[in-house]
Amino acid sequence: MSSAEGTPASAILSAHRISKSFGDIPVLFSVDFDVKPGEVHAIIGENGAGKSTLIKILSGIEEPTSGSISLDGQTVVLPPNGAAEALGIVLIHQEQNLAEHLTVADSIFLGRELKIFGFLDVREMRKRARAVMETLHVYVDPDARISTLSVADKQMVEIAKAISRDARVLIMDEPTAVLSVGETETLFEQIRRLTDRGVAVIFISHKLDEIMQLAARVTVLRDGQLIATVGTEALTPDSIAQMMVGRELSNLFPPKIEPDVDAPVVLGVRNLVAKGVKDISFDLRRGEILGFAGLIGSGRTAVAEAVVGLHHLNGGEITLDGKPVNFTRVAQSVDAGLAYMTKDRKGKGLLLNMGLRPNLTLLTLQKHLKAGFLDTASETRALERAVRRFDIRARDASVAVGRLSGGNQQKLMLGKTMESEPDIIIMDEPTRGIDVGTKQQIYHIIAALAAEGKSIIVISSEMQEVIGLAHRVVVMREGRLAGMLEGAEITESEIMRYAAGIKQSEHNERINA
């Protein structure tokens, strides 16, 4: 194994003492970075550490303020606007950049369509698209519309697109954030196939275990500074996390306080049937954190959305404090003290073009009405409270929410949800795509809420999160409850067994009896 610095001669792409400022605000300070053929080099750091800026510079989207980039040992100035793809440097964005209405083949050849006599050579494009997909062992119909594909398949199409462009350096910004465990595995297989062919991969992720599994080297950034570039074998998840935040992360999860054994059931769900939900029954007790685990598409979000009245119920019964309820509009469930926090904070949770205040109070505007008119002073007080309680950091309250970091957006959304003073909170992926420090804050908030007597459902695809937080765990599979785990049963392998369908539970029958 070569030294951590790597020899410039063997690197495909390297950056030397790169600095970057936006206006007066410096975001990167003299960072060195390189990636070799066939290597996976991971970049990690908290939100705002400068990861995204670094990869934008490496792919030519942003120009460095100072420092230089070398490609194959030659100093180059990368062309802007993604033109670096012609040099074999392809960036796959965090938000997928596929046009939903095009077909798979259209997408792969978008911008460099094959033509005969000036007309599109549809047949050849379809053939080559299929060939590329076959080398990846992905079997998606080249004629399928992008909008009909799963998130994971879309990602594969992006990778196929990159490969069809003879990518030599593939840069991926949090590719696994929206993937389930199984899908992540498939993605990693593809990445390994690519590295076997000599492609260099730069990989951003918040998930430490993934990095340990995939990367040969890890570069840690903190506040725009290069902290270290180290071979993965010399690291443990703990030591990486420590380098990221610059302090010990001794207690990522707060200690679990078990709810009273005789705590009353606040939410009861019996044989629920709805869009994406085939049949599920469970109880939530006061002061309890109930985890919902399962693969993506197993119906966890669908259950939550049906319970709060976003989707029509096709069958089953929901009780709140023992009384049957049937919400047809979200406003009714909010009034009843039941709140749902979506996992899609950009698409369904926050108004990205608006400031903090209107976002915080959108769910609960009627609380801020005085004689029928909005009382902005009261809204501002609510925002001040929320900023203090949830440690929301923004330059000022009028900044558009879309410009906040993911962690601050998430905390604002949590504040918005809590504004309705719910007794039961369903949190869907409460820490998706946010840094370890903020995650820890959110875990402590969740535990504190439960200790206050609130009841919480945490839907999460991060098993550590479910295991670290929940008193009991519902594992879903294909719209049904596959297993219910308690106490010492809550382990990664048990959850996986139920989620993957290796083990079936008799719990459904038991709870119905």
Partner: protein
């Protein structure tokens, strides 16, 4: 720290963005004064404002529709059909009610009801029928236009002369020298600004226009808010027509032609985003007045043909959007 440095720059940008239409208005007024000394005369200004008030009142309705991500192309045709029906109702009631304010009030009531019904129809087709606003209102635009032509039998519907005399003061008289149309325009504008800025309905409009899913997940009844914006639009079209009928005393298939585009143009010049999510009523008022002043200034000078009015208005619309986008990116 970055905070301290960022603040003044941001404040300056916001100021420029919000003040843009006002600056344009001030420049136009200056231009008007230098070109013709009659520009600032009482007669000229009240004339421009009274004429602008029809489009202005309609455009205030359009501000709500557009802010919530909708569009109403039918307002011009709707105005024509409301004017036609009002005239017919009044003429028809003369034998039973005689000449007087009773007939005029009945006509007004009919107009407002019809406006509300037409707006409700648009709104229901869009929200319950799940058809795009552009398509629905393009359809009703044709329907309303054709209805007024049919009712007028291809010609002109004229209000009975004696009733017209009773009704006439509503356009030509005023309070303390301010014509009634300007007073109504001002009241609607103030009311509209308050509703947009200070009520849950106004906030919900902006939220829906910004992101409908977020609104739905935030327990807003998206369909009802949308429907209300179209009903409001229809009612405000009727209010504009109440002021318009006494001016001409007739309606034909050419009444209100292209009003929808003038109204939308006023909204956009005022700084409301066409795709929704942000709207301001006072901006719309300024936008409509700017459009009115361009025509007026062209008429008051002799260098440029007044026939180029439309071209100047077009340039202003494009400029306004360019400027707003530029300031947002900086």
């Amino acid at each position: 720290m970055p905070d301290a440095m960022a603040k003044p720059a941001r404040a300056f940008r916001i100021d420029f963005k919000t003040a843009g239409p006002l600056v344009a208005l001030a420049l136009l007024v200056l231009l008007g004064i230098t070109l013709n000394e009659n520009f600032l005369s009482y007669n000229n200004l009240t004339n421009v404002l009274a004429r602008s008030s029809f489009i202005g009142i309609i455009a205030i309705g359009a501000t709500f529709v557009i802010t919530s991500g909708g569009l109403d192309l039918s307002v011009g045709s709707m105005a024509a059909v409301i004017a036609g029906v009002m005239i017919m109702v009044m003429n028809w009631l003369i034998p039973s009610m005689g000449i007087g304010w009773g007939v005029v009030l009945a006509g007004m009531l009919a107009g407002v009801l019809l406006g509300g019904v037409a707006g409700t129809f648009n709104g229901l087709m869009i929200t319950r029928g799940r058809i795009e606003a552009f398509i629905v209102t393009l359809g009703t635009m044709g329907i309303f236009r054709s209805l007024v032509t049919f009712l007028a039998n291809g010609g002109t519907l004229s209000l009975n002369f004696e009733v017209a005399d009773v009704y006439r003061p509503v356009y030509y008289d005023g309070l303390l020298g301010v014509p009634y149309p300007i007073i109504v325009f001002a009241l609607v504008a103030i009311g509209g600004e308050i509703v947009m800025r200070r009520t849950a309905f106004g906030r919900h409009c902006a939220a829906i226009g910004s992101n409908e899913q977020v609104a739905r997940y935030s327990s807003i009844n998206v369909d009802n808010v949308r429907l209300l914006t179209y009903i409001l639009q229809g009612t405000l079209v009727a209010v504009a027509v109440l002021l318009y009928v006494p001016r001409l005393g007739s309606a034909s298939s050419t009444t209100g032609v292209l009003w929808e585009l003038e109204a939308i143009a006023g909204v956009i010049i005022g700084g409301t985003t066409l795709k929704g999510g942000y709207g301001r009523v006072w901006g719309t008022v300024v936008g409509v007045v700017i459009l009115g002043l361009i025509g007026n200034i062209l008429n008051l000078q002799s260098l440029i043909s007044p026939y180029l009015n439309g071209a100047f208005q077009g340039v202003i619309i494009i400029l306004a959007v360019l400027l707003q986008r530029g300031s947002r990116n900086s």
